[in-house]
C-alpha cells in the first residue's frame, strides 16, 4: 500500500472516528450542558442571537434547580414572563422565588415570542410524567390563545421533546399538528419537515447539544446583529444586559397609533355587543379557544398550570373609549373563564397595575414584575401541593 493510499485510509478512519466522538460528546453534553448562574434565557443566549438551546438543556436546567421535597415552578410563555424590561437582578421570577419561599424552586424558561404550549410547557409535561412535583406558569393574551407547540422560533423544542420520547400520549395534539402541517404552504412545510428531521437526528447524535455546548463554552460560529463583533465569543462570557426602564416620562412615546391599534386588536375581533350595552365573547372565538386548549394543553398538565392573561399598559387602555374598555374587560374575563372551564387556573394580570409598572405596551418594569410575582405567588399557594 502506498503512503498516499494509507493516508487516505487514515483520513476516512479519522472522519468516522471523529463523527462517533462528536456523537458521544454530544450525548454527554445533553446530560449536563446548561448556562452558569442561570436566571433566564436573556437575549444573547436565545434564538434572537441565533442561539437555539436544545430541549435537553431546558430539562437539565429545570432538574438542576429542583431539590427533593420542593415544588418546581417552571415559568414559560413569552417575553413578558422572560422579564424583558427588568435588569437581571430585578427579574420578576427572582421576586417570585422570594415570595414563595424555600418550599418552591422557580426556574424561568420563558422565551421571547413563545406560546404557553412551547418550550417550558414541554419540560413541565415531561417532568410531571416522571413524577416530579411541578407547577407550570405561563402567559398569553386573548387573540394569541394557547398557540401550538411546533412552529415559530421556539417550535423546535416540540420536535426534539417528541423524538426524545419526553411527551405524554396526546392524540388530540397529534391530530391538530398533523392538520396544521397539512395546511402549510410548501416552503413552510419543507422548513417544518427539516426541523423535525433535525430533531430526530438530535435524539441520536445530539448535534445541536454539542454545537450549543461548544458555542456556550468555547466559540460560536454564526454572526448576528445583536452580538455583531462579539458573535464568536463563547456565550458564557456574554452577560445579561437587559437595561433598566427609562424614566416614566420617556416611556410610551413611540408608535402610539400602532400600539393603540394592537391594544384595540386584543378585543376588537373577539367580542360582539351583548344585551344592555354589555359585551360578550363571539361564539366562534369561544369555540376556537376551547378547541385550542383541548388540542394543545395535555390533560396531565392542566391541573398543574396557571395561565396569566396579561393586560396592556394603562397608558394605552386609558386612551380607549369607554365602550372599548368595557369590551376589553369582558373579553379578558370570558377568556379566563374558558381556561378555568377546561381545568386550568387562569388570572388576568394587570388589572391593578399602573403606568410605572410597564416599560412599554406589554412588558413590565421591575415594579410591575414585583406585582406580578405577588399575584402569581398568591395563586400558586392556593394550588394543592403536588
Amino acid at each position: 500500500m502506498t503512503t498516499s493510499r494509507l493516508s487516505n485510509w487514515l483520513l476516512i478512519a479519522g472522519i468516522m472516528t471523529g463523527f462517533c466522538a462528536a456523537a458521544w460528546q454530544g450525548n454527554l453534553a445533553s446530560t449536563y450542558s446548561k448556562p452558569d448562574g442561570f436566571i433566564r434565557f436573556h437575549q444573547r443566549i436565545s434564538p434572537d442571537a441565533i442561539f437555539y438551546p436544545p430541549y435537553a438543556m431546558l430539562e437539565s436546567l429545570a432538574l438542576a434547580h429542583w431539590q427533593r421535597g420542593k415544588t418546581l415552578v417552571i415559568i414559560g410563555g413569552n417575553s413578558i414572563m422572560n422579564g424583558v424590561g427588568q435588569p437581571k437582578d430585578d427579574v420578576w421570577s427572582l421576586r417570585l422565588q422570594e415570595q414563595l419561599g424555600d418550599r418552591y424552586v422557580v426556574v424561568n424558561l420563558a422565551f421571547r415570542g413563545a406560546y404557553p404550549t412551547q418550550g417550558a410547557a414541554l419540560v413541565a409535561e415531561s417532568l410531571l410524567l416522571r413524577g416530579y412535583p411541578v407547577i407550570y406558569v405561563a402567559n398569553t393574551n386573548p387573540p394569541a390563545a394557547t398557540g401550538r407547540a411546533p412552529g415559530g422560533a421556539s417550535g423546535y423544542f416540540y420536535w426534539q421533546a417528541l423524538y426524545q420520547h419526553r411527551l405524554a400520549a396526546f392524540p388530540a395534539r397529534d391530530e391538530s399538528i398533523r392538520r396544521w402541517l397539512d395546511s402549510l404552504p410548501a416552503t413552510e412545510r419543507r422548513q417544518q419537515d427539516e426541523e423535525r428531521l433535525g430533531a430526530r437526528l438530535e435524539a441520536w447524535f445530539r448535534q445541536q447539544s454539542l454545537w450549543h455546548h461548544v458555542g456556550y463554552r468555547h466559540f460560536f460560529t454564526v454572526w448576528n446583529f445583536i452580538l455583531a463583533r462579539d458573535f464568536w465569543v463563547p456565550h458564557d462570557r456574554l452577560p445579561d444586559t437587559e437595561p433598566h426602564a427609562q424614566p416614566l416620562a420617556d416611556r410610551f412615546k413611540n408608535f402610539l397609533p400602532e400600539e393603540m391599534a394592537i391594544t384595540r386588536g386584543f378585543s376588537e375581533t373577539m367580542a360582539v355587543p351583548g344585551p344592555g350595552g354589555s359585551w360578550q365573547l363571539e361564539e366562534g372565538n369561544r369555540q376556537r379557544l376551547g378547541a385550542d386548549i383541548e388540542a394543545s394543553v395535555v390533560p396531565l398538565l392542566r391541573p398543574h398550570t396557571l395561565i396569566l392573561l396579561n393586560k396592556n399598559a394603562p397608558y394605552y387602555l386609558d386612551r380607549l373609549s369607554p365602550a372599548e374598555r368595557a369590551r376589553d374587560v369582558s373579553v379578558y374575563a370570558a377568556c379566563a373563564q374558558i381556561f378555568r372551564d377546561h381545568g386550568i387556573a387562569c388570572e388576568v394580570a394587570g388589572d391593578d397595575f399602573e403606568s410605572a409598572d410597564y416599560i412599554d405596551r406589554a412588558h413590565l418594569s421591575a415594579e410591575g414584575g414585583r406585582k406580578l410575582a405577588q399575584l402569581v405567588a398568591r395563586k400558586l399557594k392556593e394550588f394543592p401541593q403536588p
Binding site: 487516505n8 485510509w9 483520513l11 428531521l197 433535525g198 446583529f225
Partner: protein, 401 residues
Amino acid sequence: MIFNTYWFICFSAVFFPIYWFLFLPVLRRFWLLAGCAVFHFHFAGPAGVLPIIVIGLVAYLAGLTRWRFLCAAAIALSVAALGFYKYAQFLCVDLLGRLFPGTGALLERQLHTLHPIAAPLAISFFTFEFVHYLVEVYRGREPIRRPDDFALFAVHFPSLVAGPIKRYQDYLPDLRAGLAGVTVDDVAAGAQRIALGLVKKVVLADNLTLVINFYGPGFAGLSRGQAWLFLAALAARIVLDFSGYTDMAIGLSRLMGIRLPENFNYPYLAVSLQDFWQRWHISLTSWIRDYVYIPLGGNRHGLLRRLANGLFVFALCGLWHGPAWHFVLWGLWHGVGLVINFSYVTLLGPVGRALAGVFTRLPVLGWALTLLYVAFGWLMFFYEPAQAWAMAVKLFAFHGP
C-alpha cells in the same frame, strides 16, 4: 442550500455506503439513477420534475434520430421552456410592458392563468445541458444511445442545482469509470473537497450573507471605510458561496468516483477581465463561448462585430442569472469591460501599447483594476440599478462621512 439540509445528510448516509458496497457496475448504475430520481423529486416536487422529464425525453429522442431538423426543434423547445418558466414574466412586464403598456398588461393577465408560481428547479442548468447535447449531435457527434446514460447525464444529483454545467462527452467516460469502481483515493479526495466547500459556504459565505443583509439597507449611513468593507464582503460572499457549492458538488460526485469539471480557478487572482472570465464560472463561460459567441461569429468578422458579439453574449450571460434588468446591466458591465480589454491597444495606438506594457510589467496593477471592476459589478448584480449607483457614488464621493 440543499447540501447542508438534514434531508440531504440522511440521503447521503443511505446512498453512498450502498453505492460503495454494490460491486457490480450495473447495480451501481441503477442505484445512482434511483438516487438521482429521489433527490430531484424531493427538491423539485412533481410540478418541477414533469417538465424536465418531458423536455429531457424530447431531447433524448431527437438526439437518437440524429435528424438535424428534430435536433433544432428540440433545442427550440428547451429554450422556449426556459423562456416560459423563467423569463415570461420579465418579457411581458419588464420589457413589453414598458414598450407597449396595453399589450404588456394583456399578456401579464394571460400569463397569470397559465404560469406556475415557480420555475422547475434548476431549469437553467437543464436547458444548457440539453442544448449542449443537441448542438453536439446536430454537429455530427454520436448521440447517447442508452436512456439510462442520458438520464444520469441529465439528473446527476450533485451538479443538479448549481452546476458545474457538464459536457456529455466528458461525463460519460467518467461515469463508467466511477461505476466500475470507487477507490479510497476518490472517497478521501471527495470528502476533503466537501469539507472545503462546507467551510466556504456555511462558515464564511453564510455569515457574510447575514452581515450583508443587515448592513445593506443602511448602506447610506455607513462610513467610507465601512462602505468599502461592505463591498469587499459582497465580493467575498459570492465567490465563497458559489465556489463552496461547486466544491461540494465536485466532492459529492467524486465520492462516487465520478469527476466533474472545475468551475472556479481563483478568479480574484485574475490580472485582466479576460483572465477573470477564464477563472469564474468556467463551465458557463465555455458554454456561452461554444454555443452562442462562436456561432454568432466570435472573433472572425472584424473588431466591431467582435465587440458587438461580446456585448450581446454578456447581456445574455447576465440574463441567465435571473430575469431582471440589474442582471442584464451586470452582464453589460462585464461586456463593456471586455470590449475595453480587447480593444484599447488597437484603438489607442501608441498610448494603448504603452499601457499594455505597464500592465505587463506591473501585473499587480491589472489585478487591482480587475478586482475593483469586478467588485463594482457585484453592486449591479445584487442591487437594483438606482441603488447600485447610489452605493457606487458613496464609495467614491469626496464629501460625506
